[in-house]
Symmetry: C2
Subunit: 137 residues, 2 copies
DNA sequence: CTAAATGCAAAACCTTTGCCTCAAA
DNA sequence: TTTGAGGCAAAGGTTTTGCATTTAG
């Protein structure tokens, strides 16, 4: 089974180019959830020939192939991350920090809800927006 | 306690104008989740003086006052609905139809997850994307 | 060799804003 | 009367696209 993005792209019969390899590295090495412009800046720092158009075309291709996922945190920009096991996001509304978590019970519940409504669950998005609890006040 | 959007706006000390009343009616009467342009088209059909700029300014004002809610279904446009009791959305990926549902167990679980991560839950968004189950195949 | 990918710049969208006029309270 | 709202058109920000050129397979 494939492990990294490059292998997954190969499995998906995606033609590999120098630019795509650079974008793959940027996404794999990101520990945040970069938008297209951030991916462009990081990739362009490594390879000056990469254009923003290629970034947009590439993330769309990768998303459609299912090797990356597109996220929206409500600010009008799409953000991207490598597709790993499904997980959810909690956004700290003060710092913007994004915490990832998984919750098997939640996963099961969503499947059940969709099934009860007569649907097969194809995809889902959950974002929690919260504020750090303080011991005082 | 306030019942309709007009009363809620009054409670929020929102200055009332003819255009805002028309937009309120459009949102109250919508049985879908219209985006700004759809609200504009429906409101403009009733009152030709309403401009798209006013629609955008009004939905932002109403959202900040908490009397309507802004949704994103992943197509890059914001959609709006009257703020009622909290509920979630299931999007039929074939027809685009949006089904609303509530699920107390899910609500409780989200609160608990946030708390366990050290956060007070301020807001959250859940969308399920599904395909209608068929008896055959 | 052929089909597909890229860069560049322009265009397409959605949304916001400046400015002047008009209306609510 | 005063402060805020609206219309219009221009500008802003993100994403897509047309076209000529380059490159992967």
């Amino acid at each position: 089974m494939a492990k990294n993005l490059l292998e997954k792209c190969s499995q998906s019969k995606i033609r590999m180019t120098a630019q795509r390899q650079t974008i793959i590295k940027v996404i794999e090495q990101a520990d945040d959830h970069p938008d297209a412009d951030q991916i462009y800046l990081r990739a362009n720092a490594v390879d000056k020939t990469i254009s923003i158009a290629t970034v947009y075309r590439t993330v769309r291709l990768f998303e459609q192939a299912g090797v990356i996922e597109r996220l929206e945190f409500g600010d009008g920009k799409s953000r991207y991350e490598e597709a790993r096991g499904h997980h959810e996001h909690l956004v700290d509304i003060d710092s913007g920090e994004v915490i990832e978590f998984t919750h098997p019970e939640l996963e099961a519940l969503k499947e059940k809800i969709a099934a009860d409504l007569g649907y097969d669950l194809v995809n889902h998005r959950l974002e929690l927006y919260g504020r750090k609890k303080t011991s005082d006040q």
